[in-house]
């Protein structure tokens, strides 16, 4: 068969698996780095907005999130970016079983991260701010820990309670201890002027916290979907082209490291500073 006469009708896109000699990379790697550049601009814009909003605000709430839980989640994510590298190394060493093990652990760690995060989110929606008609402002929890109540919802519900049992927060260090602390207050509903949970509407800090961490969580979920696909259906491509599959896991790892990196910025900015 005269090789020179073969027209390129099967049309393979060049450099999907092997690197182009003069650029030194395969296509997907450049594509992914470009995607990450775009992601840097996306999160960069949100972090810049955070700075601008914080600089422009007279007071900035602190201590609303638990640092130990945030630190735990940080270590969970760091662990997952180690296992994702291990899964790639396993493929480099031609060990598909080991790849499944490490990729599986990465997915589990990512799921653990999301679970902890949703626990933290839930916590915010059961924490309340109350303003009474006499001007008293309180923060604390409603008995039974109801999820995301508001005054309108409370009044609209069929068996609306006449009063709510309210446990005020303990005061912060250095603040005077009001009489109401450590006791359950019975607040008549008609005396309440405003009732809202600590959702994104509560203040600008919570707004940017939910937006940034929510967008980050979406990236984690996206990563989980892709990694589940590699974990479950990867053997097909592995049988067809080991090199290409290894590349795919490599770029997935790159993405996963970026997701981890965003959290490394998010954690101090939202929990500590």
């Amino acid at each position: 068969m005269p090789a020179a006469a073969i027209p390129p009708l099967d049309m393979e896109i060049p450099y999907t698996a092997e690197a182009r000699p003069d650029t030194g990379v395969y296509n997907a790697k450049i594509g992914l780095w470009l995607f990450l550049a775009s992601e840097v601009m996306l999160f960069g814009a949100l972090f810049s907005s955070y700075i601008l909003l914080r600089v422009g605000s007279p007071e900035w709430p602190q201590g609303l999130l638990s640092v130990p839980i945030g630190a735990l989640n940080t270590f969970v994510l760091i662990g997952s970016s180690i296992t994702v590298v291990m899964s790639w190394l396993a493929l480099k060493g031609n060990d598909f079983g080991k790849f499944k093990l490490y990729m599986g652990s990465t997915i589990l760690l990512a799921l653990l991260f999301i679970s902890i995060k949703s626990f933290e989110y839930h916590d915010k929606f059961t924490h309340y701010f109350v303003k009474l008609k006499d001007g008293t402002e309180l923060t604390g929890h409603i008995e039974g820990r109801p999820f995301n109540w508001s005054l309108a919802k409370l009044k609209a519900s069929a068996n609306a309670p006449r009063e709510i049992a309210f446990h005020p927060d303990a005061p912060k260090q250095g603040e005077p201890v009001p009489d109401s602390t450590h006791q359950t207050l019975r607040l008549p509903v008609e005396q309440i002027a405003k009732l809202e949970s600590f959702g994104p509407w509560r203040n600008t800090y919570l707004a940017i916290y939910f937006t940034l961490s929510g967008l980050h969580a979406l990236h984690v979920v996206g990563g989980i979907v892709v990694m589940l696909y590699h974990w479950g259906a990867g053997h097909r491509l592995w049988r067809k082209s080991r090199e290409q599959f290894t590349n795919r896991v490599e770029v997935t790892g790159l993405y996963w490291h970026f997701v981890e990196l965003v959290w490394i910025f998010l954690f101090p900015v939202m929990y500590i500073l």
């Binding site: 907005s49 600008t204 940017i208 937006t211």
Partner: protein
């Protein structure tokens, strides 16, 4: 392909050909040429719609409060009495159409045409690649764009109508414009934008990777046609400038749907009542994030146009374009500096004179690379024996039209003169000169120029020239008077076309005449629509009935897209091209022909 050496190969080819169903071949196609054509047709339809909205608005401006003839009843039937009582355009409808005219023209028509259609079709051909680097992503990019466009269209028909806070969607207006509704036009706008941004992300990653990775052997960086360079810079702008708008869009969506206050300041009063929000947000923040996209976006609109014009000028002057390297470096500089000029849209926001001075300086600096490009293109004409065909006429008209658009931008770039001109019709005249007789003329030039490669037939020359002459006349009759109106101080957002100025005739005596120009402008705008009829008929008629091209290279061009079969098959080239020379080797002495294709060996 037909002369394939062995029967085996022929069979494979045959087999491949039949494997693709109609749907895979023309609808969910991964072929960059089909995706390019899909982008092109969709974008042209959106351009027509964008024009239609403006044509209706021009009636309201010329004859405020009078029922719209012919289309008034239609508006009443389709959009309901809230929007068009008795066929009269309501203020809300005017605002909706204004916002959507801008949105559609920029995000759904011109950018998809320039950076979607032309880039998709031509970049792989011009660099000698079989397809884009990620064909599936390419298909996805079109369909995501399609969904974004569908959402934008659907927003016209929801209660309250489409977004009505300008294409700039300034907060807090964008959030409070339709407070009573949970899902309003603005929410739809933001959702649509998320899709459009995703589409442009997929497209730009694809274009950049393709240009870096899939250049044919010998196609080194300084042998790339200027069009490819322009698309490369454009793709970088789309890649890096859009995400901040996405971030801003997410925050505005949070403001609209979840009651956050990213862009709502403390103590905001709406309709005489304090707004029940936490406050503490910054309306300026929206403007910064918006213009961080929207200024580079201007160069996204203009760079591909410059690329198209450069190709056509080189081909039709039969000589090397002047200063190829200057063009390349200038476009890179343009791309880079375009990220540093955004706040010149915000001189009057009270952001501070020091910041204004900084952005005034960068704005003056960015005019240097723009002038380098335009001057190089002008000088390319020097000593050429010019062929005045339809694509060349449009390309030639682009130069002075873009020149007017660019130069009238300078008084807006100075923070002192901008105080008078800001938000007047002068601004509208300025940016329309850049985009309408500028970019859109270049796009028309591109359509006429590459039509023979895509269809194998040429468009009719005579009707092409009719289309050109009429478009040139009416474009200028529309936008030139706007400079006069703007200099007189006529505000750009008035629903009654400035009729309210008659309440204070002594204060605004010049405006009395400026307002009268509205009628002439409107008639020119409607005639511009009529002038497109020859184009539309010519376009569709020529697909089947145009004069067949005699060769694969009817313009005798040098670049690689003309060295393929017509139309190029799946995979583009019959044999992998090898590049031996630069992109514009025209009229070199001692050669047998006046052009030497890039893939011709020495």
């Amino acid at each position: 392909m037909q002369t394939a050496a062995t029967a085996g190969i022929h069979e494979t080819a045959h087999h491949d050909h039949h494997e693709l169903s109609f749907v895979r071949k023309y609808i969910f196609s991964t072929d960059h040429k089909v995706v390019g054509i899909q982008y092109g047709i969709t974008a042209l339809l959106f351009m027509f719609l964008g024009y239609g909205l403006m044509a209706l608005m021009r009636w309201q401006l010329a004859y405020p409060g009078k029922p719209i003839p012919v289309f008034g009843d239609l508006l009443l039937k389709v959009l309901g009495p809230d929007m068009a009582t008795g066929g009269i355009m309501s203020p809300d409808l005017y605002n909706s159409f204004g916002a959507m005219h801008g949105t559609i023209m920029i995000f759904l028509a011109v950018v998809p045409l320039a950076a979607g259609a032309f880039a998709n079709y031509l970049v792989p051909l011009q660099i000698g690649a079989p397809d884009m680097a990620f064909p599936k992503l390419n298909m996805m990019s079109y369909w995501v764009y399609f969904v974004g466009g569908a959402i934008m269209l659907a927003s016209f028909f929801i209660p309250g109508g489409a977004a009505k806070s300008g294409w700039t969607s300034y907060s807090p207006l964008a959030t409070v414009a339709d407070l009573a509704r949970q899902i309003d036009g603005q929410t739809m706008w933001l959702l649509g934008m998320v899709f459009l941004i995703t589409s442009s992300l997929l497209g730009s990653v694809n274009i950049i990777t393709t240009i870096i990775q899939l250049r044919a052997p010998g196609m080194n960086w300084m042998r790339l046609p200027f069009f490819v360079w322009a698309q490369l810079v454009t793709a970088f702008l789309l890649l890096l400038a859009f995400p901040p708008l996405e971030a801003a869009g997410i925050m505005q969506l949070m403001d609209n749907l979840f009651g956050t206050s990213f862009f709502l300041p403390t103590g905001l009063v709406v309709g005489g009542q304090m707004l029940e929000v936490s406050g503490g947000g910054s309306p300026l923040l929206w403007q910064h994030l918006f213009w961080f996209l929207a200024h580079p976006e201007v160069y996204v609109l203009i760079l591909p146009a410059m690329g198209i014009v450069a190709e056509i000028i080189a081909n039709n002057t039969r000589k090397q374009i002047f200063g190829y390297k200057s063009l390349v470096y200038a476009s890179m500089a343009l791309g880079f500096i375009s990220f540093l000029v955004w706040a010149h849209h915000m001189y009057l926001t009270g952001m501070g004179t020091k910041i204004s001075t900084f952005f005034q300086t960068t704005t003056m600096i960015i005019s240097i690379p723009s002038v380098i490009i335009l001057t190089s293109l002008f000088l390319s004409l020097w000593g050429g024996s010019i062929r005045f065909n339809t694509p060349m006429l449009f390309a030639l008209a682009f130069l002075p039209m873009f020149g007017i658009g660019g130069l009238t931008g300078l008084p807006l770039g100075f923070s002192a003169t901008d105080i008078h001109l800001h938000d007047t019709y002068y601004v509208i005249g300025h940016f329309h000169y850049v985009v309408a007789p500028g970019t859109i003329f270049a796009l028309f030039a591109g359509v006429y120029y590459w039509f023979p490669k895509i269809t194998g037939r040429t468009m009719n020359e005579f009707w092409g020239k009719v289309h050109f002459v009429l478009s040139l006349i009416f474009m200028n009759l529309i936008f030139m008077p706007m400079f006069i109106q703007g200099l007189e101080g006529m505000h750009r957002r008035m629903y009654d076309g400035g009729a309210a100025y008659s309440a204070a005739p002594d204060l605004a005596h010049g405006l009395a005449t400026a307002i009268k120009l509205n009628v002439g402008i409107s008639h020119a705008a409607w005639l511009l629509g009529l002038a497109q009829v020859p184009f539309i008929i010519n376009f569709f008629w020529s697909i089947r009935n145009g004069r067949k091209v005699e060769s694969d290279n009817p313009w005798q061009a040098t670049t690689l897209e003309w060295q393929t079969p017509t139309p190029p098959p799946h995979g583009n080239f019959t044999r992998p091209p090898v590049v031996h020379r630069g992109p514009y080797e025209y009229s070199l002495p001692g050669r047998p022909q006046d052009f030497t294709p890039q893939n011709q060996p020495d």
